[in-house]
């Protein structure tokens, strides 16, 4: 066991051990302070462990850990956001008895969400994926309001559905394999030739698409992310949705490519990207606007993944991870910003709003921000045809949505009296904001294969500026339509699903009546005789 192997294992085990330590009363009192430290092994691993490290833990654990380029990028960004959000959480949540419970769910979600980036075998992937899915429930329902409760129910139903799809897909993948718990890369290599290829691909996209929030499976996301406490929203929207992204990166066969399913992903991604913007601009709560922005951005990531799958481009996974880490840090910082703005007033408001604006516009691709880098790095992959334009237009949409977000937070901020956020909250926020600039800049030359100087050329700037200008114009148009505001409820089509509940209720009532009827004596006696006759018939048929 090498040192790097131990460090990788510590990335998952340290948060789990901390959660277990909360059983002890002495540690429980200090639980909130653990939150910032828990992701540190993962952060170290992302920077120190060399790419391509593979570790295998023998029975009874039978777990293998892998760190490759995309995994390391995502792990580093995620660990940083988890750590900063954890530091933000301890002053934010205060010293209440409920905070300890929050800390335990936090640590469990954290362990799972970092685990998905580094596990290498199918069974362990399912284990950590389940951990992050189910533990996130505790974060979503933490505030125990009616809306948190509704969000939690919708979330659990969809999360379990995602689990079921993935379990079936994994079982189908591993079925043809001699080893009971094969490595992900081994099963994915055999996927294109599998007789069940299309069902497996459909189930994988369904399962991971649910987690990412691809339309129409996004309904849980705008309900759940705003319902959670502020730091939890930041990690849910920034990191936890990336479990779906890493799932697609790991399980789709980029080496051989599957053009049909690549096209499906592109189509779903584009619809999601526009849909998120269209619904997002009608929302009135800042956190909900951000959640819809996450939906839209996940659509863009799905387009990138689909393009890589269509063109059998293995390099796509690194670019997807690069785009994803930009989104992780910026979205996390924006959620924290909402919390800080709510506690800030007077003279301090202006610089906070300014930094928030820079972060927000970064998602629209403002020059010199991480968003610009991510868009320029992925441009060659998308090409300059219709798809390239469609993505640029989606960038226009992102600018529009972010301007709407800024207008919303600026309106809400004015209602606050003189106040200032505690430094324990401001410092983590500044750290994430700084990281959202530093990390993408330092990775850019290696990822895009271009020098940083090329970014300052007029052509590159123009490519970024005109969509932003168009987004600004769109914002002016939208702001003249006051009827739009609040026109569509949060979670949009979940309302349609809830309309169908009377039919479901009737079905369940029918089952209850059938149960009552079957449990009467004459019916049960008749069933017994019928079953005996059926069995006799079956046995005679075979004899």
């Amino acid at each position: 066991m090498t040192a790097s192997g131990l460090l990788l294992a510590a990335a998952v085990l340290v948060p789990l051990a901390m959660a277990a330590c909360c059983l002890s009363r002495g540690i429980r009192a200090r639980a909130p302070f653990l939150l910032a430290a828990a992701p540190l092994p993962a952060l170290l691993a992302a920077f120190l462990v060399p790419d391509g490290t593979f570790v295998f833990f023998p029975a009874p654990f039978r777990m293998s850990l892998v760190l490759d380029r995309p995994g390391a990028i995502l792990l580093g960004g995620a660990a940083l956001l988890w750590s900063a959000a954890g530091a933000f959480a301890s002053p934010y949540m205060g010293r209440k008895p409920a905070t300890v419970r929050f800390a335990v769910w936090w640590l469990l979600t954290l362990a799972g969400s970092l685990g998905v980036f580094i596990v290498g075998d199918v069974a362990s992937f399912y284990l950590v994926y389940t951990l992050v899915s189910l533990a996130a429930y505790g974060l979503i329902v933490h505030e125990q309001t009616a809306s948190a409760h509704r969000a939690g129910v919708v979330y659990v139903v969809l999360a379990l559905l995602s689990e079921a799809c993935l379990l079936l897909a994994f079982v189908m993948l591993a079925a043809s394999h001699p080893d009971a718990n094969p490595l992900i890369r081994d099963v994915v290599a055999t996927l294109p030739a599998s007789p069940m290829r299309d069902s497996i691909m459909a189930l994988l996209i369904l399962g991971f698409g649910l987690k990412m929030g691809l339309v129409p499976l996004h309904i849980w996301l705008p309900l759940a992310h705003p319902a959670a406490p502020m730091p939890a929203s930041a990690v849910l929207s920034g990191v936890v949705v990336k479990a779906g992204v890493i799932g697609l990166i790991r399980f789709l066969p980029f080496e051989t490519g599957v053009p049909v399913w690549g096209t499906v992903l592109i189509a779903v991604g584009i619809v999601t990207a526009y849909y998120g913007v269209a619904i997002g601009v009608t929302q009135t709560r800042a956190k909900t606007v951000l959640a819809y922005s996450t939906v839209s951005q996940m659509g863009l990531l799905a387009v990138l993944i689909g393009t890589g799958l269509e063109n059998a481009d293995t390099g796509a996974t690194t670019l997807v991870a690069y785009y994803a880490v930009h989104h992780t840090l910026v979205k996390g910082a924006l959620f924290l910003a909402v919390g800080i703005l709510a506690a800030t007033g007077g003279a301090r408001l202006r610089p906070v709003l300014l930094l928030t604006a820079i972060l927000a516009l970064s998602l629209g691709g403002m020059p010199l921000t991480s968003g610009a880098l991510a868009k320029l790095a992925t441009k060659p992959m998308l090409g300059y045809g219709a798809l390239g334009y469609a993505m640029t237009l989606a960038g226009v949409g992102s600018t529009l949505l972010m301007l709407h977000f800024l207008a919303t937070v600026a309106r809400d901020a004015r209602q606050n009296p003189e106040a200032s956020a505690p430094p324990g909250q401001v410092l983590p926020w500044l750290a994430v904001a700084a990281a959202s600039l530093v990390i993408p800049w330092s990775l850019y030359p290696a990822i895009a294969g271009e020098t940083v100087q090329s970014l300052f050329q007029a052509e590159a700037l123009w490519k970024l500026l005109w969509p932003m200008a168009l987004g600004g114009l769109a914002m002016i148009a939208v702001s003249r339509l006051p009827k739009l505001r609040g026109a569509i409820p949060e979670g949009d089509i979940v309302v349609l699903a809830e309309v169908g509940s009377p039919a479901l209720g009737r079905l369940i009532l029918g089952i209850q009546q059938a149960d009552a009827a079957l449990r009467r004596w004459p019916a049960a006696g008749l069933s017994l005789v019928t079953i005996a006759a059926l069995l006799a018939g079956a046995l005679m048929l075979g004899a």
């Binding site: 399912y126 379990l160 209850q512 079957l518 449990r519 017994l528 005996a532 069995l535 079956a538 004899a543």
Partner: protein
């Protein structure tokens, strides 16, 4: 039809006496309880529990050491004249699981009786201990029995010990539930006895090993088997024969519910497995297996929905039992095996056995946790339990962990079981069974989350227990739930232990 020639079908092994010990130890305990009176009952019971656990461990060790089935021929008389006891890998797994669950339940019951010092040597606790010992003896006899009439006797002992467990508290509604149970179980016994008589009339033997070698056929044989299986289904409460189970299991005291739901209904299933696998000819077994799988699938879907809609916690757990029993019956077509691979070499066989054991552990844990909840709050209406996790954290954790196993969420025995069954369904081309397994998992997720959600809730007025609950009362459920979760560490492949002592077992890998 000619009577079979007497060949030495069973050869006693040196460790065989352990099987007699496993069956007789609880009987001796019952006699001692009757002789020494109520004051000594609990002490005798606890001693027996510890000794019985030791015997079970010794049997496991003996099986692993010899790598062959343990056999005992009573009085040295060979069947068909005499009786044989035999324990292969599956039987030994059942014996060990039973010993563990009974010991945990006994620990819980002892702690619960201690809560009320005035009645601790009263009628109900004394009766409970006697019945628990009788149930344990009957279960062990069923797991090691080789003779169908001997098994009938054990099954009757099991029923007559289980029925009074339902109405220990003597309330009118539980007496009604117990009567319902008794009537339906008697109907099942009658069918089983009828089938046994038909078999004996035709073949002159009731020894499973001899019947299996005789490769019997004919319509009389089919009818006899069908009657026996139908009778056993009535006792196992598979849908749509579950009329008696929800009121009986929900009405009984917690420790009794745990025995009934975790262990008692496993015995008829075990016998059906023996009949289908060892007695029925392979082709007939395949058709009968299809019928059982359809009933099993219906049981999973129908009763999971019913569990989802129950207002009371114990009723919910009871319906969940009927649903989870369904998983055992869908094993038949999945573990059909092939010419090169016997059923017990398939992954579905391991999956089914794991489902049996993990359900027993998880369900006992759930009923014990529900018992603590009812003890603390005086009711078990799910909607009024908001915030019980704060008041009873250990019980809530036990319930949640047991729920993980029922839902099939990793890491847990239930997950490994369902994963193996699902793999078998995918490989064998049974899409409907695969869909049923997944749908059952989703519905189980629904009913477990209803309770977990209440545990996490924070109502305006915190829920306070009406009396202090000692830590040791909560511990038994947690231990059982942890055992169910730890079962998830077994590898995802056919498990060598379960193939021990089976004819033509493959290269046996020691676990």
């Amino acid at each position: 039809m000619t009577p079979l020639a007497a060949a030495p079908a069973h050869v006693a092994t040196p460790g065989g006496f352990l099987l007699v010990l496993a069956v007789m130890l609880p009987v001796v305990a019952v006699l001692a309880m009757l002789a020494l009176g109520p004051r000594q009952t609990a002490r005798i019971a606890l001693t027996t529990l510890a000794t019985g656990l030791g015997v079970a461990i010794a049997i496991v060790v003996e099986l692993l050491r010899t790598g062959a089935a343990l056999t005992y021929v009573v009085g040295g008389w060979q069947p068909p004249l005499g009786l044989a006891l035999r324990a292969d890998g599956l039987s030994v797994a059942m014996l060990a699981m039973t010993a563990l669950v009974v010991a945990a339940i006994g620990f819980f019951a002892h702690a619960q009786h201690g809560l009320e010092p005035t009645t601790r040597h009263g009628r109900a606790p004394t009766t409970f201990w006697i019945l628990l010992m009788a149930v344990w003896s009957a279960l062990n006899a069923i797991f090691v029995g080789e003779d169908l009439f001997n098994l009938y006797v054990a099954l009757e002992l099991l029923t007559f010990a289980a029925v009074p467990l339902v109405c220990l508290d003597g309330r009118a509604e539980t007496v009604a539930a117990a009567l319902r149970y008794l009537m339906f179980a008697l109907l099942g016994s009658l069918l089983y006895l009828l089938g046994t008589a038909l078999l004996y009339g035709s073949f002159g033997t009731l020894d499973i090993g001899l019947l299996s070698e005789a490769s019997a056929e004919g319509p009389g044989f089919s009818v006899a088997l069908a009657l026996m299986i139908a009778g056993l289904l009535a006792k196992a409460a598979l849908f749509p024969l579950h009329l008696w189970l929800p009121p009986a299991h929900a009405g009984a005291p917690a420790a009794a519910s745990a025995v009934l739901s975790a262990l008692v209904i496993k015995a008829p299933f075990f016998l059906i497995l023996r009949l289908i696998l060892d007695v029925a000819p392979p082709q007939a077994a395949a058709y009968a297996g299809q019928v059982l799988a359809i009933l099993g699938a219906a049981s999973i879907l129908f009763c999971s929905v019913m569990a989802l809609k129950q207002a009371r916690l114990k009723l919910m757990i009871a319906y969940s039992t009927v649903a989870q029993i369904g998983y055992l019956f869908i094993v038949f077509p999945l573990a059909a095996g092939s010419e090169t691979l016997p059923p017990w070499g398939t992954i579905a066989w391991t999956g089914g056995a794991l489902q049996l054991v993990s359900h027993a552990l998880a369900k006992a844990a759930m009923f014990l946790a529900a018992g603590v909840i009812a003890e603390a709050f005086g009711h078990d209406r799910i909607s009024d339990l908001g915030g019980f996790g704060r008041a009873l954290p250990i019980s809530a954790a036990a319930f949640g962990l047991a729920g993980l196993s029922l839902m099939g969420i990793p890491p847990s025995g239930g997950f490994v079981a369902k994963c193996l069954l699902l793999t078998a369904a995918v490989i064998g081309g049974h899409p409907w069974l695969a869909a049923t397994i997944l749908a059952g998992g989703l519905l189980a997720g629904g009913y477990v989350f209803r309770v977990v959600d209440r545990a996490l809730a924070t109502p305006a007025i915190p829920l306070a227990p009406r009396k202090p609950i000692p830590r040791r009362l909560e511990l038994a459920a947690l231990v059982l739930a942890l055992a169910a979760v730890l079962l998830g560490l077994v590898p995802l492949q056919p498990f060598g232990f379960l193939q021990l002592g089976r004819p033509d077992s493959l290269t046996v890998i020691a676990p």
